[in-house]
């Protein structure tokens, strides 16, 4: 049974699953967070183009690591919740 079917069934039978709603909120939240992480990477790139010569590689590593971790948490929330 897919999550959507489960959602419909819960609504149909009137026994609404509260934790399922929380799971959806978590997944939407982490999805939006991935967008934010992508914006951060882009922003670091734009900022570093304004001033050339600054050592920005640690920031780039942090930004990419941040995106990777955000995707990992998104997938984790889909699987374990």
């Amino acid at each position: 049974m897919t999550p959507f079917e489960q959602f419909i069934q819960n609504l149909t039978f009137g026994s609404f699953n509260f934790w399922f709603l929380i799971k959806i909120l978590f997944v939407i939240g982490f999805g939006l967070y991935i967008t934010f992480a992508v914006i951060v990477i882009r922003q670091v790139k734009i900022m570093s183009e304004v001033i050339e010569g600054l050592s920005v590689w640690p920031l780039k590593i942090f930004a990419w690591g941040h995106l990777a971790f955000a995707i990992f948490v998104f997938l984790l929330s889909l699987t374990i919740l």
Binding site: G29, F30, V40, V50, I51, A63, H66
Partner: protein, 211 residues
Amino acid sequence: MPDIFVRPQKETKTTPLKKLVMPKKEPVFKKSFGFLSAFIPHPINLRYEFQEKDEKIVLFLRRHFFTNFGWLIVTFCLALVPIFAFSFFPFEFVPLSFRFIGFIAWYLLTFAFAFERFLSWFFNVNIVTDKRIIDVNFPSILYKDISEAKLDNIQDVSSKTGGFARSFLNYGDVLIQTAGALPELSFEAIPFPDKVAEIINDLIAEEEGEL
């Protein structure tokens, strides 16, 4: 025929490369150019996006590192919240998987807050060149605001220091009144504000002398 006297050859002194690259005038401060430096006189490797070929950066400034103290404390407190929350209130009614994900989400948001504040500090810079003054601002992660004033448009330069931390650590604001479209530029919370004002005034005097 053997030589009776051989005049010793004079050693020819070669000018070190550093002297050729660096300007004749000695920098006011000799600060190491570190990753987190807030005051860099005569940076050699730095280049501004719209820098002209014959333009040289005289000062590269950003807010004093101490100005990060506020958000660092907030981040530290935010990092402690889950530890205290779980020790005082065990959240047993919440399933373990939700507690775990909530825990991670909290630290992810805390990291995002700290990283965004650090980026804001790191890239909000002020540049003084031998031709103009540039103020690079990133008010938030989605906005970029660059304002500049040519040295011959500057009317008045003043520095302002006040408060315990600012007086103790010698950082403050430099206000630059201009005759251009932008009436005032301000370098906020930069190290050695009086010296920066002095350097800008010297550059203006040099610029006026050239005209």
